[in-house]
Symmetry: D2
Subunit: 416 residues, 4 copies
Amino acid sequence: MPRPVPVSLNEGAPLAARFHAVRALTEALAAPLSEADATIQSMEDASPTKWHLAHVTWFWETFLLRDNLPDYRLFNERWPFIFNSYYEAEGERIARFSRGMLSRPTMAEIVEWRAHVDQAMTPLFEREDLVPLIELGLAHEQQHQELLLTDIKHALFQNPLGPAMWDGASPRAAAQADGWYAHPGGVARVGHQASGFAFDNEGPAHRVLLEPFELSARLVTNREWDEFIVDGGYQSAGLWLSDGWAWVKREGICAPLYWHEGDQFTHVGWQARDPDAPVTHISYFEADAFATWAGCRLPTEFEWEAIARGQEGEAAAHDPAAGNQIDTAAPPMPRGSAGLFGDAWQYTRSAYLPYPRFKPAAGAVGEYNGKFMSGQVVLRGASCATPRGHSRASYRNFFYPHQRWQFTGLRLAKDL
Amino acid sequence: MPRPVPVSLNEGAPLAARFHAVRALTEALAAPLSEADATIQSMEDASPTKWHLAHVTWFWETFLLRDNLPDYRLFNERWPFIFNSYYEAEGERIARFSRGMLSRPTMAEIVEWRAHVDQAMTPLFEREDLVPLIELGLAHEQQHQELLLTDIKHALFQNPLGPAMWDGASPRAAAQADGWYAHPGGVARVGHQASGFAFDNEGPAHRVLLEPFELSARLVTNREWDEFIVDGGYQSAGLWLSDGWAWVKREGICAPLYWHEGDQFTHVGWQARDPDAPVTHISYFEADAFATWAGCRLPTEFEWEAIARGQEGEAAAHDPAAGNQIDTAAPPMPRGSAGLFGDAWQYTRSAYLPYPRFKPAAGAVGEYNGKFMSGQVVLRGASCATPRGHSRASYRNFFYPHQRWQFTGLRLAKDL
Amino acid sequence: MPRPVPVSLNEGAPLAARFHAVRALTEALAAPLSEADATIQSMEDASPTKWHLAHVTWFWETFLLRDNLPDYRLFNERWPFIFNSYYEAEGERIARFSRGMLSRPTMAEIVEWRAHVDQAMTPLFEREDLVPLIELGLAHEQQHQELLLTDIKHALFQNPLGPAMWDGASPRAAAQADGWYAHPGGVARVGHQASGFAFDNEGPAHRVLLEPFELSARLVTNREWDEFIVDGGYQSAGLWLSDGWAWVKREGICAPLYWHEGDQFTHVGWQARDPDAPVTHISYFEADAFATWAGCRLPTEFEWEAIARGQEGEAAAHDPAAGNQIDTAAPPMPRGSAGLFGDAWQYTRSAYLPYPRFKPAAGAVGEYNGKFMSGQVVLRGASCATPRGHSRASYRNFFYPHQRWQFTGLRLAKDL
Amino acid sequence: MPRPVPVSLNEGAPLAARFHAVRALTEALAAPLSEADATIQSMEDASPTKWHLAHVTWFWETFLLRDNLPDYRLFNERWPFIFNSYYEAEGERIARFSRGMLSRPTMAEIVEWRAHVDQAMTPLFEREDLVPLIELGLAHEQQHQELLLTDIKHALFQNPLGPAMWDGASPRAAAQADGWYAHPGGVARVGHQASGFAFDNEGPAHRVLLEPFELSARLVTNREWDEFIVDGGYQSAGLWLSDGWAWVKREGICAPLYWHEGDQFTHVGWQARDPDAPVTHISYFEADAFATWAGCRLPTEFEWEAIARGQEGEAAAHDPAAGNQIDTAAPPMPRGSAGLFGDAWQYTRSAYLPYPRFKPAAGAVGEYNGKFMSGQVVLRGASCATPRGHSRASYRNFFYPHQRWQFTGLRLAKDL
């Protein structure tokens, strides 16, 4: 089966149309997978494909249909227990690692549930008061589209046979612009400040003070990472954060995830590694060590955002034409060389913390972002697996410093 | 889908016919399961259904076809790595807990492999020298039939929805005879001594000295186990082996596996527990504590065998008509009340150790039994999930003292 | 034995005199302990008293004597392996958790080593170029004085007999001023900017933008913490960070460390808890949950510093007369009610990260602070166990969010 | 300090005299150690020296003084909680791994307790009914003498400085007789059957059937073990039990415990290994693999006992003149080349299980042996650390198959 071609719509389209487009993409992404592929779970951090399809549906059913349609009856009363992810306010739920035991319900039953929910949603698109919650639901489902892709990649990687998710060859990387974006320092305004949807963690908008700095115009490549390895990067304690060095020793880390000799595991199976492609699937610890080795540092999330805004403005930040460019597929159209979005999420040295005057929303959806604000680091940009139109200049992605099953990379910064 | 009705043949049938009957039963057992059901693995001790179907086929392909048909080519050269279980002499293999990641190959591919191997076996049934190895292969596949049933039961149990494997209700237990079988003690001859197939660990036949003892004519029932619980059995340190007590405290054990209030999880889902049915799914630690509580003890494996022989003789020990009586299904015909086979494997207090002059076979098949002779205990008899005709008076099953996902029960003994 | 009375000197005293005062205090703190007390290690985070005495001596011997006295010979060539803490550039060292196995060398041998090193240091006090390194050594030894006190408290706590470290009763807490310090927001200058010693992580000084806020004039007390408990604080998932809630469930946390019913374990054994004393021995997770429960939040480290500077100025920040006020002892003189130092380290919501343009020092001492800049949170102020004169307004202490064996407390903040 | 010279007495001496001799030896063994040495605990399996001194005293105080002297008052009411080892019937107790946190009570306090108990015991030596319990107490304290020696060896081994417990050099091993003891098979009587003390697990005496076999007249030596290593013994899966091979891989085992290159850690520190000395500090897994490699097997415990009885008779089995010949010390007098006692405990292939009609004693002392009868293997003989006169032909020592901090070795057997 070939790579799914997403049918998507930009933010200007009617809400109902955008809803159906997002829902359709989720199913298109799952289409190449068998029932068995869609059931397995490779680690606690990842979830089965089938679970993703069900969990996003649970979100719509719970926070939109159940809470706003008086006559709505749950499709199945026992499913919330297994498809709630982490919403304490919604009650007990299955242990995270048991998601991989859910051979039932079947994919067909879940698809039936999806259709049922999609239909039931129709009257709610007229409700002006629900627009923010529906926008949240759309963004939520898009996040799970990316997770679906990274989780199934990790699951298939466990199989010694190296199975492909779909057919096709990896394209060569587009050339990246050289050079550095300079910033003179001073007061910058950051955080979500335009109209349009944003997650609560992107606000409130506020001012920060920046020192003069430069940000690389391009991502670090596989070729550069190879040089880091050859130069003994993984053996040099002095390059690493203390926790990072302990992690390297404990886990026997000696290369990015998915690397094996000259090859790299991808959605189309094992492929020769493209030296010019941005390095991906690295941890924060690795990104930080590389930056130290290169005589640079990681940018702060606000430095990154200041450059992104200077170039693109909030609305255009994530090129809506850039598509869902899953790692193994040729981009449907060239991205601007100046773009900070696409290819890989970029580590910043900023911890994931609340902005001044941040308040989580009331109710269960208030658990969406705020409660994760400890121990994680902020990544900015977007990756080849991020749905088109999903990210923006104020977007804050976040992961623990050892995690690397996402398409994570880095862009160097230095002081001026 | 209803419970599979096994078509089976006794030992007198032609070897080829018996081969095809055993192979067919394996597939019949898997038939009610979806691709997803057949892929999941609930713990390191258990394997996916699909893996069982493939592993037994690997056994035939490796030890019969590859080793004895000069022109035979492997169906797939990369599959031995994933379907070898524990044969060190056959090379490296996938980590045991990764068996649950094998969404590929598909069930259809494995069934195709099975057919290919079945066909290729035809010339080998003529080879007199291969009869012992083919008998071993049949017994091996039958063991995996039982594991398939206990493993999938454990996997489905993880699902909060409590799915059934097939339709139908649990039958009431047949009445068990009361009373005790007495033995006067003295020299008994034990171990495999008749013609016909036996595993290497059942021999050599040898003599042992027994003290006078009695063995209960019946298995301990759920009702008696309830009394043990009500009497504080799981709270009384003095009843337990030290390792058993530590296990109870560490794991929070307070009932047999699969018990929840008055119900019990079965292959047809959650069912009201039958108080007259033999208790099953207990650990050695629990069996030993119960026996102590009851003022009795567990028998040794030789006491058990002496009684079994006295009653049935080796050849008839496991009633060939008793069928594959999976826990939830009515037995196709009554078993003799005196039978020691069926319903549940019975714990003995004997450690699983080699008999005098035991020597493992040469080559990889020598790893079949001998290398497991430490840390495990012997169980005798057969369970409702044991294929008909598989067990016998000298049969030695073995598990670690904490394991309880098999149909394990107990029969009391006492000194005279 | 009574509580040790520290003989200390302020920063204006001659360097040699200050050196000998610091060295003497370390030994005075260890004086009440037996050889056995000084040897045990209760967890990987903590070190034996004897190890602290030796490690600080290793620091002087390595970075001062060995590197700067051409003829100096190591007191014992095998000791660096066991008394190096974490300096990768100084070579391999004993696993951290094995420090508790060091019954040898004896305390007497370590004291002899201390005297030897103290004597050998004499010529180096004349060396102007070494002043910064000697100041670092003094600050380092003072940090270990505090760790010695918190580590031995944790070790003695493991003993069911509840042994006291020295005699005497816990004093009642001094009354704390009520009210809030208000700050109008705007640009504040933070980081070490005065003359005098500071750790590298306190600089470079730089400007930050603050929003208007208030900081409580007092620390949260045991009485308030009791109210939090009674109100179900430890059972309300909604108050907690996600990682914090997982920690509460996993570890069964239901009160601060060292609490048992109405009592609290202290250096003089189990004592009735003083409701007016500041709460101590809480984790970041607990501090954050409490602040949420109280309708407030934790301050950022820069908010804290701005208030501290407004009140005291850098030089006077940590009252040199305030003494080493180990938790169980009456303070030798009253502290100003406006003081932010003493009693307990105060959690901030700031992650421990490098300041703009921060560069670690070259060589092994560059490992002092920089490599720990991931996963930890900043605490400000000083505790009852912090040596007098050690802290200051720019001082950054740091721990992992689950740790609580230090004297850690909190001071609330809120937006204006 | 030199090695302690035990003053001991054989079984014919008056009970009170034997009591005092045993008590004195315990203290003599601890005499070379500092308070710190005596406090540390290197692993859960081992206990601190000080704890051993206290625990055996708890045994006397509890089961003799408290239970039989109406007016006796406990020396300290809180100590039973920390010095009870595993007697559930005696109530809750400190977690096993926390024994290493007991810097208090001090050695002096424990010695004072010992003297108090010793004095209080005087009237009980007249009580005929208590003789069996006093004999049990003596045997118990002797067992802890051996544990004291093996536990402190393990603790000192953790110290990179390789400290010695006492002065002196390791003697060369005495020559061992070559050859094999042959046994014709048949019925043998085993178990304790003479007068004199024995543990409950040594009875009841009963008959067993033996096949003809041979038992080596000597223990396997370090030289032979070196050959096993050179021949790839630790790399050859085929030699190992399955659990053993998993243990080798998981723990990275490649030599006996305490070996490092040509040296061996002993009570007098690191010493060159004597190739002619019996190998010690091996696990059951290693012993079994070696026997397989050598084309032999381990004996059963009854084979061993049959040979031991044939040669020595029960009473003389453990030469009372052989002394407490701690590994590093010259034996005070030569042992007979035919002796099966001394040097090393010898693995058998027998699981540690109850003899026919075995019943544990009533009350707490019934927990002494019976509850450990799962998962362990029987060792026979005695080691260089076993107190003189402690062992006998029916003596059953037992450990888990992976443990090796005791002086464990092996003697080969083969079928005839």
